[in-house]
């Protein structure tokens, strides 16, 4: 704690100003989304004639006032796609990673450390190396333009296994021994002892995976050309390349993208901060 109140005040004021600087782009984004088209290029934040019309235009509920046509965009569908894929990927990845981590951290078998070393080694390989052959495989499997093609390669992760293994190693082995003596099976030990104790790690991995999947861009971009399957990220790109000149519409779309995320973040920020710090120090 500072000895002098003057220093504490200075720190507080600095933080407030930095907070303002960080939030200014968001302020402009919200402001632009409520402007009518003729005001967008003015250097004002508060619109003279604020309008909420940009939002229903982006959602295809009313036609564009200039072209009198509805936008050719499936905004709601993209929301659903993003959420669906992110939830599915997160569920699969956390489950498979936790099971594999259990096998690596709590079981003894021949070749365990060799296999684990292989896992770690592949973590260093850049994503770009994997994308190219994975794309070729998707072509062979005829998985292009499908949900499962979007899901499957992301559902298994060496990183998640590594992270959870580190967590599980820190749980006392005496617990398993006691449970084994009581006749518990591995599945019971895994499900009833190890998983509950590894909860911070599971939460961290869940948030990291969910966010990573929700924001993923490269893979859906190369996998999809059916606009109905686009996730939000690729959808935003499509919106921007078709209607990029209508800044107020783009900003309304951006607001609808970012504001839910901010809400999620504020609700879960405690878990996230803990998880990232633990994951970062251990990873």
């Amino acid at each position: 704690m500072e000895r002098s109140p003057a220093r504490a005040t200075a720190r507080f004021v600095t933080l407030c100003i930095l907070g303002l600087l960080i939030s200014l782009p968001f302020v402009w984004m919200v402001s632009a989304s409520f402007k009518p088209r003729r005001e967008v290029e003015e250097a004002r934040i508060v619109p003279r004639e604020p309008t909420t019309r940009n939002y229903p235009i982006v959602l295809n509920q009313i036609p564009d006032p200039v072209t009198h046509k509805r936008l050719d965009m499936a905004f709601g569908r993209w929301y659903f796609n993003s959420l669906f894929v992110a939830v599915a990927v997160t569920f699969l990845q956390v489950l498979t990673s936790a099971m594999a981590a259990y096998a690596f951290a709590r079981m003894i078998w021949n070749g365990r450390d060799t296999v684990f070393l292989l896992y770690i080694a592949t973590m260093m390989v850049p994503g770009a190396v994997l994308m190219i052959p994975n794309f070729q495989m998707m072509v062979w499997l005829r998985f292009l333009n499908t949900y499962h093609g979007l899901l499957l390669p992301a559902a298994f992760s060496a990183f998640g296994t590594f992270l959870l293994r580190q967590f599980m190693l820190s749980i006392s082995p005496a617990l398993d021994e006691a449970a084994t003596l009581d006749g518990a099976s591995h599945w019971q030990i895994f499900w009833e002892i190890v998983l509950p104790l590894a909860r911070p790690g599971l939460i961290a991995l869940t948030i990291i995976t969910f966010l990573g999947s929700y924001q993923s861009f490269f893979w859906p971009l190369v996998m999809l050309n059916d606009t109905q399957l686009y996730p939000m990220s690729v959808g935003m790109l499509a919106l921007d390349s078709s209607y990029g000149r209508q800044t107020e519409l783009i900003m309304a779309a951006t607001v609808m993208n970012i504001v839910p995320l901010i809400a999620i973040f504020i609700v879960f920020q405690k878990f996230l901060v803990k998880g990232l710090q633990v994951g970062g120090v251990k990873g």
Binding site: L18, L20, S23, A100, S233, T254, F265
Partner: protein, 473 residues
């Protein structure tokens, strides 16, 4: 360990492992091997092209040189030797620094002189940012070597690496103009994009330093009082916000009113939730990072309608300066700095700040108190207590940032600039994407991706070997 029935184990282990291992083999291990093989072929999904095994052709096309004139292998060999000497000099300098070889200070002095000469030469001849940055970097390395060396100015093996480095730089400076008159790189774009990738990584030190500053500002709770005083303070701030909004709006300055009210709101939140409020606010850009944020920044950087241009233009008008506002992403000079600024804004309050906060909370209080009792001021406490204690965190953050930076830049190139103008924002990862998915030349793209992997690997290994020297202080 837990189980005393090792015979039953493999089967159960396979059960637990199988779902993950199957995915791992299919979507990670097999693709790695497949991609490595692709890099030696002309693999493409285009049906018209006959498959061919190319050996090392992709790699020589990527990294090799092409003679424009009569080829002179001796010159090329000399150039290669000079490059090897330069690399050896870099590695040995780091080594000598870490192991505190005798004579490192003399080596550092040599480097400083060399760097200063290079910098002066570059400035006089206007040879462009590459030469200037290189000169400045070498000067800085020399200075750091002198500062960190603990021995007096005595001759010793520590001077050797600096001499090697100097010989390499001078040799390169002499050979460069001759070699590039006779040869040209086979894939000029690769070298340009590698340069872009490195340039865009210049934001990393600023971002990390900024994260550290934010973490230091947030490391201790603000003395906002408890219970009633806190509520009172928050109410006062809210009241101040409402009043200034009304007053400024009434005076015809709604924008000013909104900004001031926003600051009051942040202050009120800061009083109620203390540092958590600021930590949350600073993390928002990282949490929302993605295509949407890039589209937002693209709009901010719009040279006609973007607020940066509009605001700057009205400022120029106010001051009667006859300056043009920059074209931001539309200009080859401004595009990279613009992207760097965006990157710093996105990452400064992000995961690095959280890691530094975690590191700061692990600094033993007794150490800080002891330093305070010994009369160490703020800077000395930071330099001699906090900074050494944070070294493992800094090390981790730096490695991750360098790995990320070398592989990065794809999204912003695809979303914001299409890699332009004139390829000035195309990074290696965007080049790989273009080769693979636009030109469908998967074999060549795989070769680039493996070269990128080699670069990442070498950078990480060097960091691993020498970055740890930071921890010894």
């Amino acid at each position: 360990m837990a189980d005393r029935r090792p015979k039953r184990l493999p089967l159960a282990a396979i059960g637990f492992l199988l779902p993950n291992l199957a995915g791992f083999l299919l979507f990670t291990l097999f693709p790695v091997l497949f991609s490595f093989w692709m890099a030696f072929t002309n693999w493409t999904p285009k049906p018209a092209v006959q498959f061919a095994y190319l050996g090392l052709r992709n790699f020589s096309d990527l990294l090799g040189m092409r003679p424009l004139d009569r080829p002179q292998p001796a010159l090329l060999a000399a150039y290669l030797i000079v490059a090897v000497i330069l690399l050896a000099g870099i590695v040995m300098t780091l080594w000598a620094n870490m192991a505190q070889w005798r004579g490192t200070r003399i080596g550092g002095g040599t480097l400083m002189v060399l760097g200063a000469v290079m910098l002066a030469n570059a400035l006089v001849h206007r040879s462009g940012p590459v030469a200037e940055i290189a000169g400045a970097l070498i000067t800085l390395c020399g200075g750091a070597t002198i500062l960190s060396g603990k021995d007096a100015f005595r001759l010793g093996p520590g001077a050797v690496p600096a001499l090697l480095l100097s010989a390499g730089v001078i040799g390169l400076a002499c050979l460069n103009p001759i070699v590039w008159r006779i040869y040209e790189p086979r894939d000029q774009r690769f070298w340009q994009y590698a340069y872009n990738t490195g340039y865009l990584m210049l934001g990393i030190p600023f971002s990390i330093a900024g994260s550290l500053v934010l973490a230091l500002l947030l490391s201790e709770d603000l003395p906002t009082g408890t219970g009633r005083t806190r509520i009172l303070g928050a109410l006062l701030c809210t009241g101040g916000g409402v009043l200034s909004l009304i007053a400024l709006w009434g005076a015809g300055r709604p924008d000013m009113g909104l900004i001031v009210a926003l600051v009051w709101t942040i202050a009120a939140l800061g009083i109620v939730f203390n540092v958590v409020a600021f930590r949350t606010l600073f993390y928002v850009p990282t949490f929302t990072a993605g295509v949407a944020l890039m589209i937002l920044w693209k709009a901010l950087y719009n040279p006609k309608s973007g607020p940066l241009s509009v605001g700057l233009a009205s400022l120029f008008q106010l001051l009667h300066w006859h300056l043009e506002t920059p074209q931001w992403l539309g200009s080859a000079d401004w595009a990279k700095p613009s992207l760097i600024v965006m990157g710093i804004w996105t990452s400064i309050g992000g995961t690095n700040m959280l890691l530094y906060l975690a590191g700061l909370s692990n600094v033993p209080r007794e150490l800080l108190d002891a330093a305070r009792v010994d009369g160490a001021g703020g800077w000395n406490r930071f330099r001699h207590v906090i900074w050494p204690q944070l070294a493992p965190t800094t090390f981790f953050i730096t490695i991750m940032a360098i790995i990320g930076g070398l592989q990065g830049g794809f999204e912003q190139a695809r979303v914001m600039t299409a890699g332009g103008p004139a390829g000035s924002t195309t990074t290696l990862s965007y080049y790989i994407y273009n080769k693979a998915f636009q030109e469908l030349d998967l074999g060549y793209a795989a070769a680039i991706s493996w070269v990128l992997f080699a670069i990442v690997f070498i950078a990480t290994a060097l960091n691993w070997k020498f970055g740890r020297g930071l921890e010894v202080d």
